[in-house]
């Protein structure tokens, strides 16, 4: 499910950037957006989809070292790191995704979920509130984060200490 949503975000973003380029809106756009055929990006995403996170991280790190302003790529990297348990690195890439696009729905959702893994319910709730401000309470991302928060609250009733998921670094 998460893969499908990530792919949807990626294709929509690519489509929008293609439209921007086709309209000749910005010279910067040429530098900002690689062609859809950028090997590291497409192979990196494919690797993450195949749960080959180490490969995906290597390829996407290579891509983001060259292309500094692709919020979707940073979000994919955050996702891959989170799946390997490297929460510190996941946080860093979600931060970058939001720095590039403060209304990035996927990054808000995943950052909220990363906070839950760290045991920080208030920050997760804060990102849900931001998401609802961006896309309402019925969009996919806010719905998923709301469910994750509800699951967390069920697992950690008020007053019980939430043990944060041990984080390992790369």
């Amino acid at each position: 499910m998460e893969f499908k949503r990530l792919m949807l975000v990626f294709f929509v973003s690519t489509l929008l950037s293609s439209v921007a380029l086709a309209n000749g809106n910005s010279r910067d756009a040429d530098a900002a957006w690689p062609s859809a055929a950028d090997g590291d990006l497409t192979k990196g995403i494919a690797a993450v989809q195949a749960a080959k996170y180490a490969d995906g991280i290597r390829l996407l790190e290579s891509y983001t070292a060259r292309v500094k302003n692709n919020a979707d790529a940073e979000n994919w990297l955050g996702f891959a790191y989170r799946k390997t348990g490297a929460l510190d690195s996941a946080f860093a890439h979600y931060d970058r995704a939001l720095s590039l696009d403060p209304k990035h729905r996927g990054a808000h959702e995943y950052l909220g979920e990363a906070y839950l893994l760290a045991g920080n319910l208030p920050k997760a709730q804060e990102h849900l509130k931001i998401l609802e401000g961006i896309c309402g309470s019925s969009c996919l991302e806010s719905g998923m984060l709301r469910k994750s928060i509800a699951d967390y609250q069920t697992a950690h009733p008020a007053g019980s200490a939430a043990a944060p998921t041990p984080s390992t670094t790369q």
Binding site: L87, D88, S89, F91, A92, D95, R96, L98, S99, P102, Y115, A118, G119, N120, P122, K123, A161, A162, P164, S167, T168, T169, Q170
Partner: protein
């Protein structure tokens, strides 16, 4: 049309063009005093500087360690809070809240970290005289990350990646030196924060065009922002505290907000900060400074010996658009309301005693000031949203 008539028409046309050009050139028409004040608000960015009290300052290995730890949640007491939770990079390194929320809710607004390396005193109350000591305070404060030396040292020694980064910056994190390890972690966090320099903003381009006599460059700066600049350095009196390239004098002034709720302890600002500074073993007079005899230590000695003053530190204004809400208690939601807090407006005829009592600003004045403040953002998104400041009459 006869030849003489055509010549006269051409002459009139040329005159019209000249008059229009003169009108467009008006942006450069500042008095010598105004020009000096405007040029004093730059240049930007500042020359890089290092902190002599922090041996990690400017070192790539320490910056890498500090950058990694800045995003990590593991240093905090329960592993849930990270520096970037309050200083969110995507929100101008603030959190959008009235008062901070770490492990508990704090009582002051989170300050932005943009350009923090250029400051002399840290925090709203100046309780710390170095960026590394300020970082240490956030690590130790129970309402923020609530950690301790043993936990920090255990994490540094126990995680292979962090240990490797630490070793590259400071050498082996030996056991029995927990406090030294914790202070070094704070110094690496400071080294990272020193790299957070806000981008050039439309105002900087205007200022530089003014210096260069570049009229075309000056004309690119919107009239509303220019009008706001005139008020900022003129009748608004803003530049008397929001001065220099940081738009802050770094000093402490009484603020007009901050009426405590019934029963709450009043926030004494700088008075509390000075007490904390004097009591801290991590100040520039203490054993952990790497430059005991430097200027900073002399400044700390002098401040601790002087008559204490109340107030809160003047915050810088670069990237201010993205750092709402405002004031030390976060009680002011918008830029327009923040201007109201500082001056008499036509609808609010009272003003704090520390501010100019003769300043009366109309709605148009305030909207122009907001347009100017937006031009201090390097993020085009905020600058382009300058239509409709929402300032009430």
């Amino acid at each position: 049309m006869t030849a003489p008539t055509r010549s006269a028409a051409r002459l009139l046309g040329a005159l019209a063009v000249a008059v229009a050009a003169a009108a467009l050139a008006a942006p450069g028409d500042w008095s010598p005093t105004e020009r000096r004040l405007i040029l004093g608000l730059g240049p930007w960015p500042p020359a890089p500087q290092t902190d002599s009290s922090n041996r990690a300052s400017g070192r790539a290995s320490a910056i890498e360690l500090g950058g990694f730890l800045f995003t990590s949640a593991r240093l905090s007491a329960d592993g849930s809070m990270r520096c970037a939770a309050c200083h969110e990079p995507w929100r101008s390194f603030t959190d959008g809240r009235a008062t901070s929320q770490g492990l508990a809710i704090g009582r002051r607004n989170t300050l932005s970290l943009w350009n923090v390396a250029s400051q002399t005193w840290f925090g709203w109350d100046g309780a710390n005289d170095s960026l590394w000591a300020q970082s240490l305070r956030a690590l130790l404060d129970r309402s923020e990350m609530g950690t301790d030396a043993q936990r920090v040292s255990t994490i540094v020694r126990g995680d292979s990646h962090i240990r490797e980064l630490y070793r590259a910056a400071f050498g082996e994190p030996t056991e029995g030196n927990d406090e030294v390890v914790m202070v070094n972690v704070a110094k690496s966090l400071a080294a990272f924060q020193e790299t957070l320099v806000s981008p050039r903003a439309p105002f900087d381009a205007y200022r530089d065009a003014l210096v260069a006599g570049d009229l075309a460059g000056q004309r690119r700066y919107p009239k509303a922002a220019r009008d706001g600049l005139a008020i900022f350095i003129g009748k608004g009196g803003c530049a008397s505290c929001h001065s220099g390239a940081l738009f802050s004098d770094g000093q402490f002034h009484r603020a007009s907000s901050g009426t405590p709720s019934p029963g709450a302890r009043p926030d004494q600002g700088r008075l509390e900060g000075l007490r904390a500074l004097a009591a801290s073993r991590y100040n520039l007079l203490g054993p952990f400074s790497d430059a005991l005899n430097a200027v900073g230590a002399d400044r700390t000695r002098a401040v601790l010996a002087a008559q204490p003053i109340a107030g809160f530190r003047t915050p810088g204004l670069r990237e201010v658009t993205a750092s709402a809400p405002y004031m030390h208690d976060g009680s002011v939601a918008t830029l327009c309301a923040a201007i109201d807090e500082h001056a008499v407006s036509e609808s609010r005829p009272t003003v704090d005693e520390a501010h100019r009592a003769d300043v009366v600003l109309s709605r148009q004045d305030k909207e122009a000031l907001v347009a100017f403040l937006r031009s201090l953002s390097g993020n085009a998104r905020y600058f382009s949203e300058s239509k409709g400041s929402g300032c009430p009459d």
